[in-house]
Symmetry: C2
Subunit: 377 residues, 2 copies
């Protein structure tokens, strides 16, 4: 082990060990693996001896014993409903350590910690936006946090040092630091994560009893809007139940918007094509949606940029998509995003490539020269 | 021109000309281009002389004059609210022709035609599921229908011959025929297309006034669920206003489900972690969503198949994605679907590749050998 710990890119880490990680699930074990890969001493604790042994065997660190040195940093990575208890105990047990947690729910957790009477100056909460469907140490990955936002939530009594250490941890993990207060965090995740999940599930739920013929007409739009409806019920129940207040607030507004739309459409249902009430109601909903979706940041967090779409028909056999991408590489075109669209019963799909608008025409011409069939836009 | 018209794959077409296409917008001009490419005579008509001239100049066919031969098939491709008028006139003007339309709304259109007193035995309605954001002949594409479902809607008085000819047209266009009745069609598209569009717009609309910090936390889930919220308001207003009845019915059920969820969550908002009402409400919504999304057909219309996910970190520079796909091609792995995930402020993304589960492990090993960083699942 070298004197200075470095991360996977060879940058020196700011975080110094030993680090105690309480909870050896997905987030805890992933952070542990990343710290270990940088040569930092990691101690592991977990209420489950089996989980603990698994994390150790995966190389996530040593099992913590009271005779060990006091950790400099404690990361509490347990479910939201037991997070405050673990944070309070860590602040009591390790009087010099900085303590953070990674729970996806903040206001409840932080208020419970602040009410405990322990020294809370050493506590700064946080939330890496790096969930996934699978949980547990077996799903852990030292690269889990790379490129993800990591929200840092200091409270009024947090020391500057504690805040710095938690920010450093996030950066060392390859994440991008976003500072918010607890309420701001909970409102934000309700809006951009919890409500979209619930609404996607509600839309998908309407398909459960639909006739097969209806589902045969499903296109890419339906697939996109319901993809996350396949998420784990246990995970999402724990997340949303810890953030009911902000989630209900957004859902109530959504419910009101929906009621307005239904009222507008009901006039259309009675009067047929072009009834005034329905046309106005539909148009304003779609326009408001245009405005909202335009605010989602593009890659690199810049202002949303309009990519040009190049749509190519791709026969469904091994190597075709590979050949397409290989040839785009040869042309020197970078693909910013893409969607694949397949319809039922067919052996051809289309790939919609988002590319730099100044290169789109060239890309189309070069691909056509190479025998690809371009769908004009 | 050869004696037997063939389509793009060299198969002989069943459709015989001349074909009159009324309405030279996206759908009409696309069908015209595909028929012309197969060597079939196409006549064009449109209320707008400019649109008509544009379609002709694009090679979609000849401008129709009354001195021309009677068409064997008439395709009415005008907006839903004027479709029945055009169908009725075509049935009157061409007493031997088969007539179809391609409007995205069926019950209203067909009932208006049936009430007209003309010979409706030669009329079979249809709906190719091939919309796109842009409209007009300039956006037309002879490949527009390839791989898409094309719904054929016969009514009680339709002749077998008319139904056969419209089915043949859909197959000649490369589409996949789905037969439904008008009510079944309108209910199906409300469920799998119109309501998902409206709900995506409503979710996105909630982002319009959100703080930038909240939007910075947006992940792939939000992007997926709101992608179609960028759709054209004028187009969607015309579609939904012609199908208000079925759309309202689905939205009312959705509204009821949403109200139940909110009521459950409200108990959680008052009681904190694990309040019984909220946990049950959230869990049942997510589970119902699981059940619904599992019913969306996979590629080729088969039972939904579970693909294995191989997730690879991809540096964001030109050629990297190309290199990844090229190397997957060399390994012989077919990519069934994929999503790209980029977070704000970062120069690395992850590609989630859906591959044959029996090849996933091999794909991961081969990619790691070639220097790619795999995110374990």
């Amino acid at each position: 082990m070298s004197d200075i710990a470095t991360n996977l890119d060879g940058r020196p880490l700011a975080t110094t060990g030993p680090v105690l990680i309480i909870g050896s699930g997905l987030l805890g074990a992933s952070a542990a693996l990343a710290l270990r890969a940088a040569g930092i001493d990691v101690f592991l604790d977990d209420i489950s001896p089996t989980s603990l042994a698994l994390a150790r065997d995966l190389g996530a660190g040593e099992i913590y014993r009271e005779t060990m040195a006091e950790p400099r940093l404690v990361i509490v990575a347990v479910p939201p409903d037991v997070t405050s208890t673990c944070v309070i105990r860590a602040l009591r047990d390790f009087p010099s350590a900085i303590v953070t947690d990674v729970a996806s729910v903040k206001s409840l957790v932080i208020s419970e910690v602040l009410a405990s009477g322990v020294d809370v100056s050493r506590y700064v909460s946080s939330h890496p936006m790096a969930g996934r469907e699978r949980s547990g140490a077996a799903a852990a990955d030292r690269d889990l946090f790379i490129g993800r936002p990591w929200v840092v939530i200091a409270h009024e009594q947090s020391s500057d040092l504690a805040r710095l250490r938690v920010r450093e941890l996030a950066v060392d993990m390859g994440a991008s630091v976003v500072e918010l207060d607890a309420q701001g965090h909970d409102t934000a995740v309700a809006l951009v994560s919890h409500v979209p999940q619930l609404v996607a599930s509600l839309v998908a739920a309407r398909l459960a009893d639909a006739p097969d013929e209806a589902l045969a007409l499903a296109g890419q739009g339906l697939r996109d809007t319901t993809r996350i409806a396949a998420s784990d019920p246990r995970l999402w129940t724990s997340i949303v139940s810890g953030n009911c207040g902000p989630v209900v607030e957004v859902l109530r507004q959504f419910h009101g918007d929906l009621a307005d739309l239904i009222a507008g459409l009901e006039s259309g249902a009675q009067h047929g094509f072009g009834a005034d009430g329905s046309v106005g109601a539909i148009n304003s909903v779609i326009e408001a949606g245009n405005e909202g979706v335009a605010r989602i940041p593009g890659k690199h967090g810049g202002a949303p940029r309009r990519w040009a779409i190049v749509e190519v028909l791709v026969p469904d056999k091994p190597g075709e998509l590979a050949r397409l991408f290989s040839e785009l590489g040869a042309i020197g075109i970078n693909i910013e995003d893409l969607t694949l669209d397949h319809s039922a019963h067919q052996r051809v799909g289309s790939a919609r490539l988002m590319v730099d608008p100044t290169r789109a025409r060239e890309a189309e011409q070069e691909l056509e020269t190479r025998g690809w069939r371009i769908v004009s836009h």
